[in-house]
Every structure is written in structure tokens, then in C-alpha cells.
Symmetry: D2
Subunit: 359 residues, 4 copies
């Protein structure tokens, strides 16, 4: 299903080579001013065709808002935003299943009826409305002291050894087109360039953080903060792993190393370290929420691959010619930030409260 | 919220030192025979106190079924199973936040009203009803050719280099009390023993697999198989990372290595490798579903730790005396298998279909 | 599905002649004191066998609480309450579909696997856990100035012409065993007595009211207060109609009569009449919420009826011998009050709110 | 929330005087041919300005489809349809709460931020996307033998005594612009005309029916067919009552009259009467589903009314000048049919089924 959320509800729609992609965001509080310029800057961060390393396909990700805004403020009614598709070369796509893509599984699920041109509804293009929704959420959150950032923790097999700790470090990183420290970023770009030259692709790891999330958000078990964040992260194409705090490496530590010691200061409670990524028992503790996502290498490569043709279900060879990002991780960064923003908002969306004798 | 699922619905309840823990499983098809002995064997796999490496606390995880079964078969109505609590030493627990536990965040969320004795509702004891529900699901799935297994991919920092590929290898592993290959299992147990001697604990990585899952299950985006499985996995205490197929390491490969090539044989479609863990675009492709979960080291350790006392919100020292597993990963294995079984069932639960002129 | 609610979640389970019926209530705020005596008085109002007009079947609707309460207060974790079944005569029930009952449709849905003794999961007995959940909700609401009452607006074809307007009138009515005005109540009971003598049954109309509901609760369209209340009311066996304010008769008025004029007093807004039952556009306006439910005549009658036998799908005759209420409407009153209380609570359940710089 | 459904998901958005209204319909099966002409005929049935009795406001309810259709067939991805707003006279609307409308409650809920021009998101105009979604559902259902019809059972206080029983009678009625029997229709129109002359309005009762619904759809309790249908019906503006089968009058009968006797013929089971409207225990029995909805008189009238001005919260007088339907019930008929179609589809939407060894 293409609807997500509990206190807010996000629906996305569209196909890569159809008329448009878009979203409906419901349950968003009324009276929130939306800065459209800032919103477009967020869209721009995800948009393709901005640098030599991303796909040559250019789209103008201009959002047309159909509802939910009035005089620059939210009305409390569903916000519908639509992004029209323009620059598509449908002839680039045939009937052969592209390995690593959803062509095969869409065929199994929809019996050949899905419009799979350009990946159809499975296309990364569907993350544009997600970034739009996240940008709206970010503006509300920022006003309440919650800030969301993202960075490339790794790309092309190169990890960034310089780990930002302070909010200001994250803020500086997030302003970069290629959000990695200078030295590591250089190496990552080189790895991406080499892969591109070979007609190949690479993956990466995107780390996101939310500062200022109040403690006490989330639930034990099925609606744990981790469950909700992971569910949304794994809905983003190419994400194959999600971890919180130290994540997988945490499982190789001892308890005495992994436990974050707790202390009180000025009547408030803090943790001395943040191995648990700001979440204990599924509930936020007020420390920064830290999430990392493994992004697989772009499935579309220019090399010859063995596959099956949907037309006759026979073995076939495939050599993709389309224009594709040799590494999707940089563009995935604002998408994952958007997802984190939506999760935080969903967990802290204000709801009506029953007041004494209220009327 | 403590309710999960779309086509089936699972609710769990209970506190560690309250009267009972239990679950309600709704939407389960009618007429399914339930083998109670097999079910108890599954419960036994999770139960504590079975070997020197697990906690000395002994519980008889006897399930009393209140509804939904008649003459040994499911009725189609909700199945309620209750496991009474017995062996609890509430005096072991004070008001100090135990680092790495949910005591702190429960305090933030529930304002001190939660019954946190023994971890309360956040206790690993709540996974007993989850195993029960999973065991019911497994029996239905096994009859339809779907088999779920789990193993310790790592524990105490020791990875098992021997990776099972065939269903029979998995089946053999799953019969073991300590589900690892002989050589690696030996080393893992040694690491656990050493940690225990030091009053410390270790973590691990649990790998689960589902064989025989039909292709075409799941959805693009928000209800992707990965989203649904990850959400349930992350609801299990101590899980801090989840990955599918090759997961995080996949993000360091090139596309030409990561893409699973596709071929046809006897009119059916297969992949030559399974780097994507049986899921593409959020939908199953018929290959085994492969999920790994990072389990953090047991938060309860016998070493002195710095923390805060909930009674006065002042800094305090804590030395836990309770009986605890030095490594929870082995007991987490059947829990994660149960979670995987429930996810697969939820995605393939048969629903009524509108038939021509039906009456 | 047997789970209901958005901000709170209620699951019910059990079969009439199984071991027990019960409920799990999740999302209930922590720290709410529960008065068990008052709760049992609510259960007593629904319990059968209290007067000559209700069924002779006696049950002790004693609730055992398994979780979610500690030291007499809610913990914030799911509350599980179980009511064991005792006095059942399964021999009273055969394989013939009882007209007006769910035997036939349960057979269609569950293929003969449902435990239909005494109506099984479809039995009115399942309303006992609903009353329990409602009683818990009522206590919280009463502390916040919200009071819920119910009355018999009609029974056996006799309407009560005396319509209570003030809260005190409703309160006085609700204390009666047979909640109708004296004169009309007499006639209703006579109609019930006559039907019973004939081996027949009658229906009725139950009116419920919620005073003190704050304005602004509910949503336009799909989560309108009316949608949410009606959905829960129609889940109660025997309810075949639901109307708000003047309901069906409202549709025969002119707009100038039906519109409730609005006025301001002391900075607050009121309506001069309440034809719309406290709801406009799906949202409460602060006036009393008024809901009426049509309760059909008890389906179990002692008269000979034509039907079909599930055993051979052949035509058959049926003469029910069990002990049954000749009119279920009086016992349905506390059930519908409970449903209204749960709906109001679900709409105004306090949720965490994102605070400036919260930690 | 503006999202509805379990197996299918419908989201609606838009404001009366905003850019557009529209809907996203998700979970709709792939490969279904959509006849756009037939779809527009359904839209035309709801559209205003068609006859002297409906509002003079003319809109071209032209739907632009953004996604989910390819080569005239559904793709399995969300269908987004948008209807642009054109003919609006915002100057007609001021800041005074219109009695009987949601202006007051929207003010309470959204703190004055809602765009309430023309009723904003609460406007009957939002039923246009509902009719669109219902028309899509109807086409799928018709191919599977399920037919949905509606009629005016009453209008302006005049009931239609001629009750259609056969499918062909319903079909004939549904072709009429004013779906009532000739004699009664004449009287209803006269009542509407008189109200209009007086600057007043009237209400009505709309009856809908679904033929060919398979038995066994729905669930006991919270997801009963009645609960699901009523929830959607009550989300439609102006509906204040919903009843199934004989509904409220059923509650005045005796059990011996109300119970539908059951018989078998040619191996199938039928009921001799249909007092229960095709639903027993929340589950369909294969008889026609019968639902009636009470539609209140149009709240907008030309007469002087007492109210409050949102600008200063002071008492004020209001005389609406806009163009409005003196009776909304005829135009509500296709809307309620659409709602019934969506409910039936939601209950019988085909889901993937786990097959033996499936791949």
C-alpha cells in the first residue's frame, strides 16, 4: 500500500513515464507557514542532472500544490502536491527484466499490467514527492527545535572516517553538494568516476540524524521508533540495511561498552555516549536519533547481463543504454532525511486533548 | 501501539512481573490444525534457563489458550493465549535507571506510572507470546511449503564463516540448541563464557531465512516486504540493525556484482545469486528471503555503572544483581524466526475473493 | 477484524461456550486510577439474569485483569481483562441455522470450522469485554467532565414520549434497571411480557448521550465523529440502524427547522437547539452528542421456524429451546454507552506533543 | 483522516474554492479496463446545474488522471484523479458561521486557518472524487456480477410507497434523472419547488442496494459489513442516519416477523425475506445488501438566521445569497452508490494467496 503514517498520513502516486508523480499529506497541523523557496531548495537537492556524477536526465521538479495551503499557510486539510513528468525516453525500455530492478517482481505481482517504463511506480522518481512531504515536515519541526541532517558515511566502498558529532558539523556537511568530509569525499567521487567509466555502478551508506527530538516519543514493541523509521527507510528504493546508533558493530561489543551511561544535570537527564542512537525500548531519550541506511549500487549498469524476457519468458541478454546515476547514495541523502523528518513528525503530531469541561 | 499486522492482527500484552503475558492473534484462517506439542517445542527454544550460558531464571512457558481453537483446529475467531508469570524476584529491581534499558524512556513516556519491575512491558519476556504466535503461523506455512529457519551468524564478536545455502543445512542447524557451525559455535560460547566471568555481556547477529515464499508478495514503497519485516524485527528488544540479502556489505559492491542475474528453466524464473535476499522493489521473487538482525549485548551486567535514580533524578551508581543471559542472541533466534513467519503469513493471508455471481 | 480504534486500540476475543471472553485495551494513558467496584457495577448492568424479563442464564461476569494495572492505576501498557465462561448448556445447540443469527454467514465465511455453540464468537456475550473497556474509559472521561448516559427510547414498539434534556434527567434515568420514564416503561415491559408468553421477542431503540465533549473533536469525511461512532455501534450484535441528533426524522424537516442557530455568550459559542446531535461536518461543536441505535428483536425465539441444516444443507424445521432475553434492548443500553465512551476517548486521547527544544 | 479502506485505500483532497479536488485510489487490482465514457456519465449524475431543482452553479467535473492507468487499463499502482475547480464566487462567503454547516466546528478544530470559502474541504464538492472512485469500483464489480443501484426513498417529507424488489426495477429507476416512481417523484419535486420558493430547503432518504454480493464477506464485530458501510456513508456530508434492511422499523417488529427464514434450493441457500438487508452477524449472506441514508435538508438557505461572526465571536445575522440545491438528496444518490461500491470492493478485494511451493 502506498499510504503511510499514523498521526499524519502520506500517500504517494505516479509512474516514472506517466503524466505525473505526487503525494497527499494529511493530518498536518493547520496554520503552519510554508516557505516555498526553501521547499524548492530541498527538491533541488534530490533532483538529477546537477553534477557530472549523477544522471544526465534533467527534470524540473516543480511542485504544483492543489490543496491544503491558503495564503501561504496550511489549512489542516490534506496537502496535495503534483510534479509533472517531462523528459522521458520510453523507447529506452524494453520487455527484458533488468537485474536488480523490480521488473521481475512487478511482473509476478501485476501479471504484466504494470506500466514499467522507466521503472514505473517503482522508480526512484517516486522519491520526489517524498522529499516534498519531508520538506514540509522539516519546516514545522525546525520551528520546534528539531533539525534533521544527512551525510554520506560511505560510497564506492570508501568510508568517511571523519564522524561529525556536533550539530554545527552536521549543518556544515549538509550544505555540501556531496555531503562528505573533503578528503574522503574526493576518494568517493574517484570511486564513482571509475565505476562510471567501466559502465558499472557503486553503492553507499547514508547516515541521518535528528537533533532536538523530545524524549518519550515512540512506543514499546510494534510502534517502536525504530520500527517506524525502519519501515519508512526500507520503503525507499535501493535501501537494503538500516541500523540505529552503532547498529551492527554494536553487536560485537560488550555490554559495558555498549550501554550508554546516564547522568543528570540541571534537572535534566542525558547519556554520556550515544551507542543506542537516541532510542531505548523503542522510545526516544532526547539524545540525537542516529540512523544509517545501506544503499545498494545502482541496478542499471551499461554492462552486458543475463536475464529473462517478459515477452516469452526465455533467457536473454541485456545491455541497458539509459542515462543513470553511477551512485545513487548522494541523491538518496535528502530522501532519507525526508523520511526521518516524517517519522519524527508522525510520532509527535499534536492531537486534540480532552480538556476539563472543554467546549 | 501493541497491535501489528494488516491481514492478520497480533496484539501482545503483559508485564514481566505482573500476572501474565499473552497475545491475541486475529485474522488467522479457520480450519487449521494446531499441533500443541510442536508449539511447546518452539516455546521451549526461547525459554530461559536451559543451558549454563542462559539466565538461571526458570519459567514454565505454559500457554493457556482461551479462544479461537475448537477440537484442535482454528475457528477463524481470535486466538488468545496466556502465559502466567511465576518465578519473579521483584526485590531485585530498584528505582535506578539501568543503562541500556528502557527504564529511562519509560519514565519519560509514562511519567513514572509504568510497572517497570523486571523491565515490565519492555521485558524480553514479552517475546514469549510472539514465539507462540509465530509457532502457530509456522504450522500453517509449513503445510503450504514455506519453511522458516534461523542461525547465529555471529556472537561475542565471532562470526560463523560457514554459511548454509541449502534448505537441509538450515534445517540441521535449527535443530541445535546453539545454532552455529561446530567450530565457530565453540568459539562463540567461549566468548560468552568469558564475558559472563567478567560480569559482562556480549551481543550477536541472528540470520533468518524463509524458503518457499511465493513470488509476488509485498508491495512497492510503504508496505514493501522489507518495511514490514524490518518493522517487526525492530520491535524485538535489543535489535539495533536489520539487513536483507547482503545488506550493508552489498553497499560496498559494484552493481555488476550486486545484481542477481535472472534465468528461466522449465517455465519458471530464478536468480543465479541471492544478494538481494529474495526481495526486489519490496516484492518477493521466489528466492529465499534472507534477513539478518544485529542483537546488542545484554544491557543487564553485573559491573558498576553510572546512572540516575528515578526517585530523585540525581546521579547514582548501579550494580545489577539479577540473573541474566550473558548473550541473548541464541534465545532471540526463535523469536526472529517467529517474526519472519508472521510477516510472511501477513503478506499471503488468503482473503475472500469476489466471485462471478457468487452467493 | 476484532481490533478497533486509532489512538486507543481495543481487541476482543472469545467464544460463548469456550473458556473465556476478554479484551485487550491499548494506548490508554498511564496513571489513571481505576475504581474496580464502579467497574463491576457497570458489568452488572449488562449481565443477564437480573430480572424476570431477561434470560434465565446466569453468568458471573467477574473480570480477571492480567496486565496494565499496578497499584490500582494504569501503567500505560495494554490492559488485558478476561471473563471466564461458566454456565453453558452446549447441548442446547444443534447444526441448524437459527434464522436471524449469524450461524448461516459464519458457515459461509469459516466453512463450518467456527465454534458456533451459543453463537460462538458472534454471541452477545462478547459485549461483556466491551462494557469492561467502556467502563475503564468512562472513569477517565468523568474525571475530565465528560459523562455518558443511555436510555430506552423505545421497546416492543412503544416509544417513550418523555425526552430528557438536562444532564440530571439523564443521570436519574441511568440509575434505573429499566431506563425509561415510568409510564412508558410500564407499557414497554408489558409488551415484552406478552411477547415472551407467545414464545416471541421484541426489539427497541436505545438512545445514548455524551455531555461535556469538547468542541473540535473528529475529522471531516472518513474519520468523522459520526463515522467512528456508527462503525462501533454497528459492530454490536442486533444493531440495524444508527442516527445522530434528529436522524431520520431530520430528513423530513425543512432547513429553517433543522439548522441549529448559533449564539455567543461569555466568549463561548452555543447552539440554541441540537437537531444535529452535537456534530457538524464530522466534528463536535461542544453540544451533547446524541446517538440512537435500532436494536432488532432477539433472533432466538421459541416458535417453530423454517431453516436449513448445516449438516446436509437440506431444509429443516427449528424450535429453539435455550433461555433467551425476549428483548435485548435494556441490556444493550450499557453496551452502547460503553461504545460511545470508547469513541469519545479515541478521539480525544492525549498524544505526545513536540515541544520547543524538548529533551 | 481523509484516507479510507483496508484492502483498497482511498484518499481525497481539495477545497471547494481551491485549485482542485481529487482522489488517490490504491490497492486496485491491475489489468482492469476502465471505460472513461461510462465514468463520466457517473460524474454527470452527481454534477450540479442539470435541472431547475438543483443549484445554478455549473462545474465541469472533468477528471484528469495522473497515474495508475496505462493503455486504458489499471496498472496496479495508485490511481490519482484530479478535478479542477472553476466556477467559484468566493465573495459570496463571509466570516459568519452558517448554521447547519461545518464553519463553526472547522473554526474550533483548525483555529481559523481552514480555507472555508464555499465550505472548503467540508464542501459537498469533495464527493466528486468519491463518485469517481466509486465509478471505477463499479466497473470492476459489474464484471463480477455485482450491481449497485440507488433511489430516492423519500424527499421533502414525501415517501415513495412503490418499493422496487427486482434488480430490473432498480435498474429502470437508476436511469431516471430523479430516481423515484412517477407519482411520488412528482410530489417530491413539488415539495422541493415550494421550499425553494420560500428560500428554504428540504431533505430526503436515499436507499441503495448491491445485488450479487457473494456470501461470507465481512467480519464479526469491528469490521462488520454494517460498520464499514456505515462509516463511509456517515463520512458523506449531510448524512445523519444509516439503517440496514428494515432498520429502525425493524426494531418495532417481533422476532417472528423480523427473522428471515432460510431455505435451500439447488444446493444453495437463500432467505425468504430480507429484513436484515443481506447481512447477519456483520457478514453477507448473498441476499441483496440494502442500506438507507437520511440526508438532512440543505443547510444553506436564503432565510435570515441568527449566528455568530468568527471575526469577533459576536452574535450576528446571516442571510446567505449563494446558489444552492434546495434538496441535495437526488445528487447524493450516486454518491451513496459510490460509497456502497467502494465498501463491497474493499471487502472482496482479491489478495495474494500463499500457494503450495509457489514461486
Amino acid at each position: 500500500m502506498n499510504t503511510w503514517g499514523h498521526n499524519i498520513r502520506l500517500s504517494i502516486f505516479g509512474e516514472s513515464h506517466g503524466k505525473a508523480v505526487g503525494m497527499v499529506l494529511d493530518g498536518f497541523p493547520a496554520g503552519e507557514r510554508i516557505d516555498m523557496e526553501q521547499l524548492e531548495r530541498e527538491m533541488e537537492r534530490r533532483a538529477p542532472g546537477r553534477d557530472p556524477y549523477s544522471t544526465a536526465r534533467r527534470e524540473e521538479d516543480k511542485v504544483e500544490i492543489f490543496s491544503g495551503l491558503h495564503d501561504g499557510k496550511t489549512t489542516g486539510s490534506p496537502i496535495c502536491g503534483v510534479i509533472r513528468n517531462k523528459d522521458s525516453h520510453s523507447a529506452d525500455y524494453g520487455t527484458k527484466f533488468r537485474p536488480g530492478h523490480a521488473d521481475w517482481t512487478a511482473f509476478l505481482k501485476y501479471g504484466g499490467h504494470a506500466d514499467m517504463r522507466g521503472g514505473g511506480h517503482f522508480s526512484g522518481r517516486l522519491t520526489a514527492p517524498l522529499v516534498f512531504a519531508g520538506a514540509v515536515a522539516k519546516q514545522l519541526l525546525a520551528r520546534r527545535g528539531v533539525k534533521i541532517y544527512g551525510r554520506l558515511a560511505a560510497a564506492g566502498g570508501i568510508a568517511d572516517p571523519q564522524i561529525p558529532r556536533e550539530k554545527s558539523d552536521w549543518e556544515a556537511l549538509s550544505r555540501l553538494k556531496f555531503p562528505a568530509s573533503e578528503a574522503a569525499g574526493e576518494k568517493m567521487r574517484e570511486a564513482i568516476r571509475l565505476a562510471k567509466e567501466d559502465g558499472d555502478s557503486v553503492g553507499g551508506v547514508v547516515e541521518t540524524v535528528a537533533f532536538g527530538v523530545p524524549g518519550g516519543l515512540g512506543d514499546p514493541f510494534f510502534a517502536s521508533l525504530e520500527s517506524r523509521i525502519a519501515a519508512l527507510f526500507f520503503s525507499i528504493p535501493a535501501v537494503k540495511g538500516v541500523e540505529f546508533g552503532d547498529g551492527f558493530p554494536l553487536s560485537a561489543l560488550r555490554g559495558s561498552e555498549a550501554n550508554d551511561e546516564i547522568y543528570a544535570e540541571d534537572g535534566r537527564i542525558f547519556a554520556r555516549s550515544n551507542h543506542n542512537g537516541g532510542i531505548l525500548g523503542g522510545i526516544s531519550n532526547g539524545m540525537p536519533i542516529l540512523v544509517r541506511a545501506a544503499v545498494k549500487p545502482t541496478a542499471s549498469i551499461a554492462l552486458l547481463q543475463q536475464t529473462v524476457d517478459a515477452a516469452d519468458l526465455r533467457n536473454a541478454e541485456l545491455q541497458t543504454k539509459g542515462r543513470h546515476d553511477p551512485c545513487i547514495a548522494p541523491r538518496a541523502t535528502p530522501v532519507l532525511e525526508a523520511a526521518l523528518a516524517l517519522c519524527v513528525l508522525d510520532c509527535c503530531a499534536p492531537n486534540p486533548v480532552c480538556t476539563e469541561n472543554g467546549k
